[in-house]
Symmetry: C2
């Protein structure tokens, strides 16, 4: 679903697996483990150990034959590679149920992101407080985006408004977008877009049901 | 993040790619295309054409050398394989912002799922209407689950309630769970669980930001 499958020589699909490795390593660290192996990681994730070693080899030499990976070192390296050694402020567009759920979501903490702005087109919502943010009118987006240097946004609006919102975000030089609306958006090739689609995950499970 | 990486001889990671193929094929069909190839699909998805051919070969012979895949035929086959030639009713647990957003979500339609029940532990929400559903108390889950034969559920509760909800779902023989709470849940090996985690998708994009 990405427009650019290869940037900087490393396939986008490899980049997409790094956060999955990061999450699994974090779980291992939280359970008290110090070291792991590509085999153990692979078993946990359903990915072959050869794939994991190959993915990581794009970025350097992180493990030792026989002793495997030092978990906290590998976590630090992945955080650096993914530019998560800083916190990214994010704009939410859409102050409806989903926008509220995202503003409340506890999973962003300590994982690189903080929801900082929320925009809506509905005058009746503008000025409302939402988890410490004040809902701003979408027409203020260009001004705020330029002043604050917003780079990431989440689209949490109804499906028929999503493309218009994407166009506005792109016009403000916001080039990393997580889209929750069930629609494939048209964006320029330099804009990174990810789709959150619960259906794909539900369809994965029905295979096993009888 | 699945407990069982191989069931019925086909790796779970392969099963997980089928809905992604299905979505891409559906987009191609909607754009008016009749045929496609593993190369075209691979380019769209950032997956190698060899991988796509290998994945599909687990289930039969769907394409022809040279002419590729007939899109609508392959869609039908994937729907059958993933048991999406029927509609699955789903229970939402949690009638907060996220539960409301899921009940409103337009993306389930015509893709195999219908939200049919919603449960909450908060007495003040019980009886409320939510997109045609009436919020029921979570203590009624066992009765309703048995009577209606509920097989799939979505956890949309705060993180500190999620494991308790998962235990209740498992006790009701619900064995396909989509979890939105940012926590790794303990479930028996026969229970299929998927995690919806926007952070993994956001972390995928920060790599490209400067």
């Amino acid at each position: 679903m990405k427009n650019d499958n290869v940037v900087s020589g490393i396939p986008d699909i490899v980049i997409g697996r790094l956060p999955v490795y990061l999450r699994a390593l974090t779980h291992l660290a939280e359970s008290g483990k110090m070291n792991t192996s590509s085999h153990e990681l692979g078993r946990r994730l359903g990915i072959s150990s050869a794939q994991i070693r190959k993915d990581l080899s794009h970025f350097g030499e992180f493990g030792k034959q026989g002793t495997g990976y030092n978990i906290s070192y590998l976590i630090d390296q992945l955080l650096q590679i993914l530019k998560l050694d800083q916190e990214w402020p994010v704009a939410i567009v859409g102050a409806g149920f989903l926008g509220h759920a995202l503003a409340h979501y506890q999973g962003f903490k300590h994982r690189g992101f903080v929801m900082r702005w929320v925009f809506d087109i509905d005058e009746s919502k503008v000025g409302d407080e939402m988890d410490g943010m004040v809902v701003q009118h979408l027409s203020d987006l260009p001004l705020v985006a330029e002043r604050e240097g917003i780079k990431m946004a989440i689209i949490a609006v109804p499906v028929n408004a999503a493309q218009n919102v994407a166009d506005r975000l792109v016009a403000c030089n916001i080039n990393a977008i997580l889209n929750y609306a069930p629609i494939n958006l048209s964006v320029p090739p330099n804009v990174h877009i990810q789709y959150s689609d619960p259906v794909v995950q539900m369809q994965h499970m029905t295979y096993y049901l009888s």
